[in-house]
Subunit: 228 residues, 2 copies
């Protein structure tokens, strides 16, 4: 009787131990927070043909002299922007890069809701793509403040933040020494989303005459910049 | 006999269960990765007296008209910089903010090794603090490339990254709409540290005549900018 009990107790102990180890492993796997996707891109980017980014499903037919099918900092940046499926919010000081504009227009064709906010002084300079975006029906607003709206960030699908020193210009991408952080870390994405919403509402031309900022009153043409 | 065994088995089971729960809690606490410190600061910063930042141990005696003892985005930024104990690497396009310069000089007085890298075109403009830093014995180099060194980041003690759209100027801090990310995430800090090291070595005047960049050859005065 005593021997049988000992066998039973040891057997039960082994089973309990095995189950505990299994449970522990499962719990650790479930409870360990997943590392947020994070990437740092440095510029200037190598020059490369962008055909495989803009038309990945088509047979590659480009005959330009640039390297083809190459991944660079710029192609990584474009891929992040083109990954948008539900929204794209852009908040940049200067937007004159035609490839970045092409990426935004491609999203517009797919029906992705897009909002673009930029500095008023740089919206109208030669080469600015703000007019192109508006003609395509994209809502692009200009910051109404009397100082620079110097941000350089975008948020994709309310979950992927793209931010850094890089203005959306050709010089920044191809020549300057710049950085861009791409991250899904909610501790970073959240504050930028909130700031975008604040600036977007503050730049609403419908609110224009209620603003206390004295500067726009001197420039009555600014409200018209919100026309798509 | 059988009753005694049952009591023993149940007792052992209870003890084993309690120990397992304790062990599980301890393991989860130990194995769960700590979230990296992350903070986002937005500018313009409220204006506030900085006496409590620069002389926290002294009795507050400032009589200026600004609010005293207030925490703002700028005081947070200064605190991050002043937390340096083993190193400070600064890589900024423009450095003309006197309070940020004062913070760097304070670290220099404490014996913290400091390296400052900035854009060559902006190193010599009116109000630039690069000369002040050099006169204090801080090693400040200028990027030798023919394009903008447009970064705006610093790394404290090789572990805390400060980066964003904010140049180290008075306008950026007090007027513009800007952002600064402060993070200890090694996935972000690592690439910026590596980039700083690469740019620092590339801007070494001792390497000057070995560089393939044709631009510096036209400007033989540039090597002298590394003199502290």
């Amino acid at each position: 009787m005593s021997g049988m009990w000992t066998v039973k107790v040891v057997g039960l102990g082994v089973v309990a131990l095995s189950l505990s180890v299994e449970l522990l492993g499962w719990l650790l796997h479930r409870l360990r927070p997943k590392r947020a996707r994070t990437e740092v891109l440095f510029f200037p980017s190598e020059m490369a043909c962008l055909e495989h980014i803009f038309a990945p499903s088509l047979p590659q037919s480009c005959c330009c002299s640039l390297p083809h099918g190459v991944e660079t900092s710029f192609t990584r940046l474009l891929r992040c922007i083109l990954s948008a499926s539900s929204s794209l919010d852009v908040c940049v000081f200067a937007f004159s890069n035609m490839d970045l504009c092409k990426a935004v227009l491609k999203l517009q064709c797919r029906g992705v809701p897009i909002r673009v906010l930029c500095d008023k002084d740089y919206a109208a300079i030669h080469g600015s793509q703000i007019g192109v975006l508006r003609r395509a029906g994209i809502c692009a607003r200009c910051d109404l403040g009397s100082v620079y709206m110097h941000h350089k960030f975008a948020v994709v699908d309310n979950r992927l933040l793209i931010t850094g020193s890089l203005n959306w210009t050709m010089t920044a991408v191809q020549s300057n020494k710049e950085n861009v952080i791409v991250t899904e870390d909610p501790d970073l994405v959240g504050p930028f989303l909130k700031e975008f919403q604040r600036l977007w509402l503050h730049s609403d031309p419908a609110q224009y005459f209620h603003l206390s900022d004295p500067k726009p009153a001197d420039k009555p043409t600014i409200p018209s910049t919100d026309k798509p």
